[in-house]
């Protein structure tokens, strides 16, 4: 068995016995930066990445902003309660409430826009954190060429460090946690930046500032 052979060789090389406990793990200091204006910093950093940020003050305004972005386009929306609450799912051309894997995939492959919320956002890197679940599918933020996310400001954390402190064992929650930092991009041909190589080339984030409930 390769398993036993490999573990055996590792132990012989290291001079360890099976089941021997390691010493203390060295520290990995997590130092979330102190950021007062989380929303402001998040939006500035996001725009620098080539994505767009919109600050709105209510769920109704969020719906209006999304409506401008998706008008005359075919869209697929996730089952996030944020989207239902703000009424995005009722906009013309927006499909939502899909729970069948194959149907969702077909819709994502043909849609022009994918609409989601995000479980967290990280201010200092302009990152969206998406945990795969019954509310958020993996494909909606990935297959359509445009990704629109509606995120309550209360979900913005300072940094990766704060995320890892808040969620020390992400794999206990979900099979997939993705940190999305800007658009899909490549520089593989002559190091010229091209957006939208496999994932969305456009990312729009609508931050809802007074979504108290969330």
């Amino acid at each position: 068995m390769s398993r036993e052979a490999i573990l055996g060789r590792v132990r012989t090389a290291l001079g360890r016995k099976a089941g021997q406990l390691p010493g203390a793990i060295p520290d990995a200091y997590l130092r979330p930066p102190a950021i007062d204006d989380l929303t402001g910093i998040f939006c500035v950093v996001l725009e620098k990445l080539g994505a767009r940020a919109y600050r709105v003050s209510s769920m109704a305004d969020a719906r209006e902003q999304v409506s401008v972005l998706v008008t005359k386009k075919t869209s697929i929306a996730s089952n996030s309660a944020v989207l239902t609450e703000c009424g995005v799912t009722g906009l013309p051309g927006v499909r939502s409430g899909v729970t069948d894997k194959q149907e969702l995939r077909d819709l994502c492959a043909s849609a022009e826009v994918g609409i989601t919320s995000a479980d967290f956002a990280l201010a200092d890197t302009g990152t969206l954190v998406m945990l795969s679940s019954g509310e958020e599918a993996r494909m909606i933020s990935l297959l359509p060429p445009v990704h629109v996310a509606v995120v309550p400001a209360s979900r913005i954390l300072s940094s990766l460090d704060q995320l890892l402190t808040t969620l020390p064992l992400p794999a206990e929650r979900t099979s997939s946690m993705v940190l999305i930092t800007g658009t899909s991009r490549t520089g593989d041909i002559e190091q010229i930046l091209v957006r939208g190589v496999h994932g969305p080339g456009e990312v729009h984030v609508v931050v809802v500032e007074s979504a108290q409930k969330w």
């Binding site: 068995m1 390769s2 398993r3 490999i6 573990l7 060789r9 590792v10 090389a13 290291l14 360890r16 021997q20 390691p22 010493g23 793990i25 060295p26 990995a28 200091y29 997590l30 130092r31 899909v98 894997k101 995939r105 492959a109 200092d124 890197t125 990152t127 795969s132 679940s133 019954g134 599918a137 993996r138 990935l142 990766l160 402190t165 969620l167 020390p168 064992l169 992400p170 794999a171 979900t174 099979s175 997939s176 946690m177 993705v178 940190l179 999305i180 800007g182 658009t183 899909s184 490549t186 520089g187 593989d188 041909i189 002559e190 190091q191 010229i192 091209v194 190589v197 496999h198 994932g199």
Partner: protein
């Protein structure tokens, strides 16, 4: 394609020299711009922590291998230990046969390059498509990666235009934006039709049973999420103890590679789709590959070679890599890191020149985010090469030359005499001694001078001038 695979060819290829210089310079600038004290005040401390965490993991590797196996299994996945590349391909071929799979999409993975996985799979009738744009282009022409981070660095847009026209049957297109969209369309079909997706792993988190994949294009997200089977292939050295350690490693990896605080996508994947999750793979496998790594563990000083997180910074900063390029190293790993791990994987006698292809300037060690002491390991390996040559009685002429040199250096009169003779025979009017007269152009001298040069000794030595003053 132009000559990239011989050193004289690469050196005399002006366009290639410019491409390597410009690309590595840009990556160097991006890195240094991202680790300034204002932006990352604790950069040096992060490097120290990363080194300590890697050391701890590697020194207790069997413990963490068992832990990750237990966690992956608990999340419904399966861990497959493989000793060799053949075992990896046998495992995939068997699985593909059982599931009736034919098409495989792959995202960039140096570990699979190391074991020629695509060739093995294709020999058995499976189609394995590389989906990272650079990797896809070089796969179309049967080429190998030129750089860990930028595999198609050596190709121009015009060469890419020819490749796409010939292999994909599209109109000639020389604009990178449009070329990228051509590849997007072709590969999108593959993603949606594929039965199996293969990814590498930048990190394997032991206490979560998760693989972490870092990328910019989205092809790793698609490879891991669109097909019904996801196979992640990782070397056993890729482990880290806890998810929180990513706070150290992710901050260093993107910045060291491309100057990005975080790349576009960082995926944290564990097991197949769960409970009410709408999409994701039905089956998840984590292949943990040895392929010689346990051999590297045996030497406590050299074990640190396994700390590498494949950021490519040592390549960009290496004066040797920046001249000869990635295709003149004997294995898939190029640059300083290639020069220390290749001899350890293959034995020092296979490419004895490799540890010597360095000026020991130390730039690699200075930029390494996990603080691998590459120059020290190069010296160590040089000692091995010399020992190996002596044992095989192959060091005759070199040894003799150095004995004579040592003899002369201990005798001031002989040294002065040699200087006078040298000045007598030195090429007149040339600034370099490599233009020796024909009667001095003997095989060993010619071989030595083919790679080196010096100004000729002056007609009158300093010692002589001192005496005559």
């Amino acid at each position: 394609m132009e000559e990239t695979r011989t050193i004289p060819g690469a050196l005399s290829n002006e366009r290639l020299q410019l491409a390597i210089y410009a690309s590595t310079k840009r990556l160097m600038d991006h890195r240094s711009g991202a680790i300034t004290p204002e932006l990352l005040g604790d950069y040096q401390e992060l490097r120290t922590q990363a080194n300590a965490l890697k050391k701890h993991t590697i020194d207790n590797l069997d413990y963490y291998l068992e832990m990750v196996e237990e966690r992956v299994t608990a999340h419904g996945g399966k861990v497959v230990f493989c000793e060799t590349g053949v075992e990896v391909s046998d495992f995939i071929l068997k699985l593909a046969k059982e599931r009736g799979a034919r098409l495989i999409v792959k995202s960039k993975s140096m570990t699979t390059e190391e074991i020629d996985l695509n060739e093995r799979l294709e020999d058995h009738g499976l189609q394995a498509v590389e989906t990272d744009l650079g990797e896809y282009i070089i796969q179309l022409i049967g080429d190998t990666p030129f750089h860990i981070v930028a595999p198609a660095l050596h190709l121009t847009r015009y060469e890419v235009a020819d490749v796409f026209q010939e292999k994909l049957g599209v109109e000639k297109e020389t604009v990178p934006e449009k070329q990228t969209m051509i590849a997007r369309a072709v590969l999108r079909e593959k993603f949606l039709a594929a039965d199996i997706g293969i990814t590498g792993a930048n990190f394997v988190v032991a206490n979560s049973g998760a693989v972490v994949v870092v990328e910019n294009e989205g092809n790793a997200r698609l490879s891991s999420s669109a097909p019904r089977i996801h196979i992640a292939i990782a070397g056993i050295e890729k482990l880290i103890p806890r998810a929180q350690d990513l706070g150290v490693f992710l901050k260093l990896l993107g910045r060291s590679a491309t100057g990005q605080p975080l790349t576009s996508y960082t995926s944290f994947l564990s097991g197949p789709r769960r409970g009410d999750e709408i999409d994701g793979p039905e089956e998840f496998y984590l292949v943990l590959l040895d392929n010689g790594r346990t051999k590297l563990l045996e030497n406590p000083d050299r074990r640190q070679s396994l700390y590498c997180i494949r950021c490519g910074a040592c390549l960009n900063h290496c004066p040797v890599y920046r001249k000869i390029g990635g295709h003149n190293y004997p294995w898939v790993y190029s640059g300083p890191i290639g020069a220390i791990i290749t001899p350890q994987f293959h034995g020092v006698s296979k490419d004895p020149w490799l540890p010597f292809a360095s000026s020991l300037c130390g730039a690699c060690a200075e930029v390494c985010p996990v603080k691998i002491d590459i120059p020290k390991l190069l010296l160590d390996l040089r000692a091995d090469v010399t020992k190996d040559k002596e044992q095989k009685g192959k060091s005759g002429s070199e040894r003799l030359a150095f004995r004579m040199f040592a003899w002369m250096m201990r005798r001031p009169k002989a040294y002065a005499m040699a200087g006078r003779i040298g000045a007598l025979f030195a090429p007149q009017g040339s600034p370099w001694i490599s233009r020796v007269p024909w009667y001095m152009n003997l095989a060993p001298i010619r071989a030595w001078l083919s790679q080196r040069d010096l100004p000729p000794p002056p007609p009158k030595s300093f010692r002589r001038m001192w005496k005559e003053r």
